[in-house]
């Protein structure tokens, strides 16, 4: 069964918030209505967002790593937010596994947010309905867009290509491949929610060098058992430099 999802590479995310702003921009002007803001230029601005980038510091100084961590709905394969909804407004699509909210059915009781361990859902305080990441369902199937633009807004905005989009149940897809090759993992696996979105860990490219690799075993001088020339003696270079 198809399961669309994002794969977020923490190794390349630089924490620029481009995915946050492009998400907000696309979805606030989207077909499902705007995402309310309150007091946007005032002292205490607040508003609805589907996506956030957070920053964590791992380790103790001086051995620290800064990890920028984008967080949005994970489109769980066992979404705990769906069965608790009393109206059926919260649902998971059979055809592609996207978890959506029917804004016309939602009564704004907030029970689904209690049932989401990731805090991925936000009540729109103006429209009084629950909102969450739709994986840009209104653009990924839009045939009026060129095919390479039929991706979530956050994926298109990412300058470092830290966000990949595709079907995680198709073992040949780019996302499945990157999960497999780079140790992709899920958040809070302890609750059995089976998030479809995966994260790729920080990776350091390193090679192991042993001491014997630093001296050439096939050194021709060594091979012929000749002593190394002294500093003031002529070397092969001196003779041959004509």
């Amino acid at each position: 069964m198809k399961q669309l999802a994002l794969v977020i590479d923490l190794n390349v995310c630089v924490g620029c918030h481009a995915c946050v702003t492009s998400c907000k921009e696309w979805n606030t002007s989207g077909t499902a209505g705007f995402m309310s803001d309150f007091n946007p230029y005032g002292e205490d601005p607040t508003g609805t967002f589907f996506n956030r980038v957070q920053t964590f510091e791992v380790g103790e100084f001086p051995n620290t790593q800064t990890v920028h961590f984008p967080k949005s709905c994970l489109h769980c394969e066992e979404p705990p937010c769906v069965p608790v909804c009393p109206t059926g407004a919260s649902y998971k699509r059979e055809e592609d596994g996207i978890v959506l909210v029917d804004y016309d059915k939602c009564i704004g009781c907030k029970y689904c947010t209690w049932a989401c361990p990731y805090g991925a859902r936000e009540l729109d305080e103006n429209l009084k309905v629950m909102k969450k990441c739709t994986l840009c369902v209104d653009r990924i199937y839009d045939e009026s867009l060129p095919e390479d633009r039929r991706k979530p807004a956050c994926v298109l905005a990412c300058p470092t290509n830290a966000r990949l989009f595709g079907d995680v149940n198709d073992s040949e897809s780019v996302v499945s491949n990157s999960i497999r090759e780079n140790g992709g993992y899920q958040l809070m696996p302890e609750w059995g929610t089976k998030p479809a979105n995966h994260y790729l860990p920080r990776r350091k490219t390193s090679i192991t060098i042993h001491a014997d690799e630093l001296t050439r075993i096939d050194n021709p001088l060594k091979k012929e058992q000749l002593p190394l020339p002294d500093d003031d003696e002529q070397t092969l270079d001196d003779i041959m430099s004509w």
Partner: protein
């Protein structure tokens, strides 16, 4: 979690209403077996049911303040196969309907004998309606408790004790109210209700304190390491991604100090358990309206504090993502 007063009033009011109905029906059952004198249908069962209904309607009205779209509330009956909230939405009006019917059957004396068990035991309409209503009252307690107990990662709630506490605390406040009501309507059942109110209040003290002990020792399964998936003992949040508040920072944090929480705990322990039991024991020897009224008001007010504490104590794992501005 941030305690919502709509839900606090919903659960405490319907709990007292359910408890009061259970008390009324218990009294009737005892009188069927000639253990207690039969009560007046009009003044006692009729007005008693009305009082229970008033509490239930009050709870229902309070619940609407929790909704963003109360005009769509009827939709919430749809998903009863999966959602405990939906089941509560069905159980509450069903129980209210049967309580109304129970009151009507008594008040207007529409109480024919429906059938006879073993040729000796007459089952009249009020007995049958009351039995169904009792079943619905218990079902409603289970639904209300399970709404909270079924969320497994809210570990403070995910325990059978949640359902037991909702049932016992609601029943205790109902029996205390029944004591007051019996005294007010000059019934002989005052000491009967006072006795049961003491027993149930003490029983609920045992289960509620058990859950306090359980929650004090709880070890949360989610940590910052599982939340962001990085296996390291030392992880600190440096930014939550925005400076001002959002739904995530308002809905899941109660924003009160540890001292306030601790005070709230002692306040509800004294008001829900200690004061009512002392007053009810005193009322057994020297019954007076003031004693029973103060006992109920103290217990009900204490239950509001108890429910506030119940919500505030629950630690949502999403809070891990919102530790620092």
């Amino acid at each position: 979690m941030h305690p919502a007063f709509s839900v606090i009033f919903l659960t405490t009011l319907i709990g007292a209403g359910q408890g009061l109905f259970l008390a009324l029906y218990t009294g009737q059952l005892y009188s069927v077996f000639n253990v207690l004198p039969v009560q007046d249908s009009h003044g006692f069962y009729g007005f008693g049911s009305l009082l229970a209904l008033v509490l239930l309607v009050g709870g229902l009205i309070a619940s609407f303040f929790h909704l963003g779209h109360p005009e769509r509330a009827w939709r919430s009956a749809a998903m009863w196969r999966t959602s405990w909230l939906s089941r509560e939405v069905l159980a509450l009006p069903a129980f209210m309907g049967m309580t109304t019917l129970y009151g009507i059957v008594h008040y207007f004396d529409i109480n024919p004998t429906l059938f006879t068990i073993s040729g000796a035991f007459d089952v009249d309409a009020s007995l049958l309606v009351g039995a169904i209503s009792t079943g619905l009252a218990l079902l409603l307690f289970i639904c209300t408790g399970m709404i909270y107990a079924c969320i497994k990662f809210l570990q403070e709630w995910a325990s059978p004790l949640t359902v037991i506490n909702y049932t016992l605390l609601g029943t205790a406040s109902g029996f205390t109210l029944a004591t007051l009501f019996a005294y007010f309507s000059e019934s002989e059942l005052v000491s009967f209700y006072a006795g049961w109110a003491i027993v149930i209040t003490l029983l609920s003290a045992v289960t509620r304190i058990s859950s306090l002990i359980r929650n004090a020792r709880i070890k949360h399964r989610s940590t910052l390491a599982t939340a962001i998936g990085i296996r390291h003992a030392s992880i600190q949040q440096k930014s939550r991604g925005f400076m001002a508040g959002s739904f995530n920072t308002r809905e899941y944090f109660h924003g009160m100090s540890q001292a306030f929480m601790k005070n709230m705990k002692w306040i509800f322990l004294v008001m829900v358990f200690v004061i009512p039991v002392v007053l009810l024991v005193a009322g057994l020897t020297q019954p007076s309206l003031v004693i029973f009224a103060v006992a109920f008001i103290a217990q009900y007010t204490g239950l509001i504090a108890e429910r506030w504490f119940f919500f505030a104590q629950a630690n949502h794992p999403q809070n891990l993502y919102y530790q620092t501005i």
